[in-house]
Amino acid sequence: MSLENILENWSKYRKGHEEGGYHEYEHMWGMAIDLDKCTGCNACSVACYAENNLAVVGEEKFSKGQGMHWLRIERYWDEPDLGEDKVNEYQIHGASFIPMNCQHCNAATCEPVCPVAATYHTPDGLNAQVYNRCIGSRYCSNNCPYRLRYFNFFSYYEDSWPEPLQMQLNPDISVRDKGVMEKCTFCVQRIRTAKDDAARDDRRGPGAVKDGDLKTACQQSCATQAIFFGDLLDKDSAVSKVWEKHEVALGKSSQNKSNPDKRGYRVLEGLNTDPCVMFLERVREV
């Protein structure tokens, strides 16, 4: 409550990163997305809309770039890594899809710049956004290299859920008002519920939530199982296995691979943001 404890917390979190993580982390929620399995079908994105009370803004506002999509599927036509300097007449290797949701960076660039500390790092490794603390300076979004933060430019709730659509809203999540920044939370409400369930059968403290206790909305809806989610501190969790297998580690700004079949990489990790979302390179027969 005092000034000290806040400053002290911050210093811990900061120090934490260089030492490869805040040393009292209970969990380190992380993700791995296999781009070779992602078909860009967009089910995850809609699942996110359903789970997290995302506002539907309508054509006019969307055209202005005021849409809200915590999880967006990006589609690119070129494949720089395929060394294709020659321009193909047709898109013979298909399109390149990548789902982008908040990367929950351990050295998040959005956290230090928020004037009111509305965004910070939680003890379970999440990059939190506290809606009711946010004053809407929008600095965090400016400073996010991935541009994964979305701002409530209007009171979207006023016309996004005409009666009775609002009955679908998830009561575990606040509906955001105008002037507030929001972003992917790794379905924190599900994480909390899983924690509560763990507490019910007397699992507490670090590592309380076991692998498979919860699925995020996007992971749940993914038919090709392209999305792994879990605790990176738990060495046996599916997700940390994937990270290990593909030789990606936290707290680095570049990964040195033993050989090219290790497909893991993190987007823009050269900026030393230390994201908790890892991607597996898309594979193509050429």
């Binding site: 690119y76 395929l82 008002d177 050989n259 497909r263």
Partner: protein, 751 residues
């Protein structure tokens, strides 16, 4: 997530009362924030079940009704409201996954434009009436004392299965031989016929996961074709090491094409030629055994060379060679055909040619398994197509239909202008619409009966695509009806039947009672010794009733097809004197129109769901609108730019939309997505974008008579206007920054 397995379903009935108020009180609208005491009401139950705890979700199993793939779903119910749908992990179809359309089923249920009141047409206008009045009207038109010749009554529905179909047939029979027409714009009539002719069964299982190489002709099996979620689940395993290779041959890039290793931009209508070329290449360079093919075809192989095909299909010879190489070297392979490949005048031949590749590669019985029909034909899906709609239109215009019972289809929107549905429907004296929304068709109806949403009604379903042992999917209500004046289709059908056959149907209070009773009809063998009650409860928990089939089930035909399919094959090949079309240019209408099946809006029935409207199209990333896809080279030739408003005109009609340029489309084709351009479908769909189906020529597949969706030729004219497209995202290129990393497969193998 605390998932409670539910024993009984009564709890909703009891707490439902508080459901609505609970919903209003519990919804987290910022404006409902108040710290004044006594401003808000609290939920208090009357007599809840033990497992109901305010603030904790209870999950119920049901079946997704958005399409006929029959995915199992579980719905999270809290304070009497269903909040979230997810895939049912125990369902063999979708294994816990759910597509975007399935997710959006909630918005069908909670849609602000849902019909709350029945309507009757009086002095040309639809007037709100009570259900009883509406039903009375229905009774007077098809009831026993309507004195109507039953054959003048017709059902016009979408694909229906399960006991809804049973009851519909019962009604048809009761009224005295009413006819039943089922219409679906996106259908597999052609493919089914080919499967029946080539493999000996219309029902075929594609073992995508087992294949090492897949060649798909126009079948967007990951998002719009067959059982998309099931296919996607299999595709996930298909990509696991040893990694399978996917080759997609289609004129316009679909979601599946987007994920393909090798995408072949085949010219619309020449898929058959491409298939034959690959067959020839397999025989020539990879020592495939041509004798496996029916003679009629084997003889033709000589005509197909890589070069001639390049001229015909527009696919570079090198790519075709590569494709053939993959198929030959990565066994077992799998060739799928459908969608745009089948939607041509000679679609049947094209699909057959593709099927022959399976025979040539010896995939039948390995990766492609013909299975028997559903053991209970009465429940089996009555699959819709446009041929039946045409038949209906013909009969209606002839004045032979005086009562049309319309459910789950919207022909006034989906039918090409050439079919002149307006005239056909207006020729029908009484049009009864069983519907949840006022769409183009139901707004023409005389009696509009508002239905429960799928979240409110009981039902049983049989998936159009059999993925495993046959089963009946159970659909159960996830919450109390929102509106007092709506009924479920099943209940209404029962009420009609009671008019005719009181002693048989009288005992059933409602559709639930009817279904509950049906269980005892299931043969004991299927119940594996469980009591009726236990069997039913298990069914409710899992969302499906296992009905073990007469053994041996799939095996029977599979082996047959394996050993010597020849007789079947020869039959098919010879009966049609196998001819493949030659692509000829058309001066006035140089481009082929592809009315692209939308992975978001389907054939237009999902256009009223805001989530799907705002979900970007997978390939173009455009939202809320229609567009015209075109190859940059073509655009350059005609002098169009990205964002130009153009008029796409066929001989039958035209649409205006903005151009989106990308290299994922054949140069001789333009694609306009289906789904938009509604004139009457609620606030989210009405007056938005354009509907390409209207301008289609009524060319149909020669063999099956099914409408050939992609056979229309068009010309594109500029309107001089240019605006920025309403799409998500800025740059279409990664400008050299590593966002989507890509490595080559040989790098992957080099360890």
């Amino acid at each position: 997530m605390s998932t409670y397995k539910v024993k009984r379903r009564d709890f909703l009935k009891i707490t439902g009362l508080t459901g609505a108020s609970a919903a209003l009180a519990a919804c987290d609208m910022p404006t409902t924030v108040t710290l004044e005491e006594g401003e808000e009401e609290v939920v208090s139950y009357l007599m809840p079940e033990e497992y109901v705890i305010p603030g904790i979700g209870v999950w119920y199993a049901s079946t997704c009704q958005q399409c006929d793939a029959g995915c199992g779903i579980i719905g999270r119910v809290r304070e009497g409201r269903v909040l979230k749908l997810e895939g049912n992990p125990v369902s063999p179809i979708n294994k816990g996954a759910l597509c975007q359309i399935g997710q959006a089923a909630l918005q069908v249920h909670y849609n602000p434009d849902r019909l709350k009141q029945p309507k009757l047409r009086q002095e040309g206008k639809l007037i709100d009436v009570t259900w009883d009045d509406a039903f009375a009207a229905l009774k007077s038109s098809i009831g026993p004392d309507s004195g109507l010749d039953g054959s003048r009554i017709a059902w016009l529905t979408g694909t229906v299965s399960g006991h809804q179909r049973v009851l519909m047939d019962a009604v048809s029979e009761a009224v005295g031989g009413a006819s039943h027409y089922a219409h679906e714009t996106l259908n597999d009539t052609v493919v089914d016929k080919v499967n029946a002719d080539v493999y000996g069964s219309a029902n075929v299982q594609y073992k995508i996961a087992d294949a090492q190489s897949i060649l798909s002709f126009g079948a967007d099996f990951l998002s719009t074709w067959g059982s998309p979620v099931h296919n996607s689940v299999q595709y996930g395993q298909f990509r696991d090491a040893p990694r399978g290779v996917l080759i997609q041959a289609e004129p316009k890039m679909t979601v599946t094409g987007g994920s393909a290793d090798l995408w072949l931009p085949v010219r619309p209508g020449t898929e058959g030629t491409l298939a034959m070329t690959i067959a020839a290449e397999l025989v020539a360079s990879h020592g495939a055994d041509a004798t496996k093919l029916p003679k009629a075809m084997a003889d033709q192989l000589g005509q197909y060379s890589l070069d001639s095909s390049e001229a015909q299909t527009g696919v570079a010879a090198s790519l075709v060679k590569q494709a053939a190489n993959f198929l030959a070297t990565r066994a077992p392979s799998l060739v799928i055909a459908g969608g745009t490949a089948a939607a041509h005048e000679h679609g049947y031949e094209a699909v057959t040619a593709a099927a022959m590749l399976n025979v040539l590669l010896g995939n039948v019985g390995k990766t492609i398994i013909p299975v028997a029909d559903f053991p209970y034909p009465a429940l089996a899906p009555k699959k819709g197509d446009t041929a039946q709609l045409a038949a209906f239109a013909k009969k209606a215009k002839a004045g032979d239909i005086s009562v049309a019972l319309i459910a789950g289809t919207n022909p006034a929107y989906t039918a090409p202008d050439q079919l002149d549905m307006a005239a056909a429907l207006s020729a029908v004296k009484v049009k009864v619409a069983f519907t949840e929304f006022l769409d183009e068709t139901s707004s023409m109806a005389d009696i509009v009966l508002p239905l429960h949403s799928d979240m409110e009604s009981w039902g049983t379903h049989v998936a159009s695509y059999q993925v495993a042992d046959p089963m009946i999917s159970l659909q159960q209500p996830l919450m109390e009806p929102l509106y007092a004046e709506t009924r479920s289709l099943g209940d209404t059908l029962l009420d009609v039947l009671k008019l005719y056959n009181a002693e048989q149907y009288g005992p059933f209070a409602d559709y639930y009672a009817y279904l509950r009773n049906v269980v005892s009809a299931v043969p004991a063998v299927a119940k594996e010794g469980a009591s009726d009650e236990a069997y039913w409860q298990a069914g409710l928990q899992q969302g499906m009733l296992k009905v073990t089939a007469p053994k041996p089930f799939p095996a029977a035909i599979a082996t047959a097809a394996n050993d010597d399919a020849s007789d079947a094959l020869v039959k098919s090949a010879d009966t049609m004197g196998f001819v493949l079309p030659v692509y000829e240019k058309n001066k006035d209408y140089p481009l082929s129109l592809i009315p692209a099946a939308s992975s978001r809006l389907g054939d237009g029935r999902f256009a009223n769901l805001p989530w799907l409207q705002e979900a970007p199209d997978a390939i173009t990333k455009i939202v809320w609108n229609s567009w015209v896809e075109m190859h940059p080279a073509t655009a350059l030739y005609y002098g169009f730019k990205q964002g130009d408003f153009v008029e796409v005109a066929s001989a039958e009609g035209s649409v205006k939309a903005q151009i989106y340029l990308h290299k994922g489309i054949n140069k001789d084709a333009v694609a306009v997505p289906m789904g938009q351009g509604h004139t009457e479908y609620g606030r989210y769909a009405t007056g938005r974008g354009v509907n390409p189906l209207k301008m289609l020529a009524t060319t149909s597949d020669v063999q099956t008579g099914e409408l050939a969706l992609c056979a229309t030729r068009v010309t594109v004219v500029s309107t001089g206007r240019n605006e920025e497209l309403v799409k998500m995202g800025g740059s279409e290129s990664q400008v050299g920054r590593k966002l989507v990393g890509t490595i080559t497969a040989d790098q992957l193998r080099r360890v």
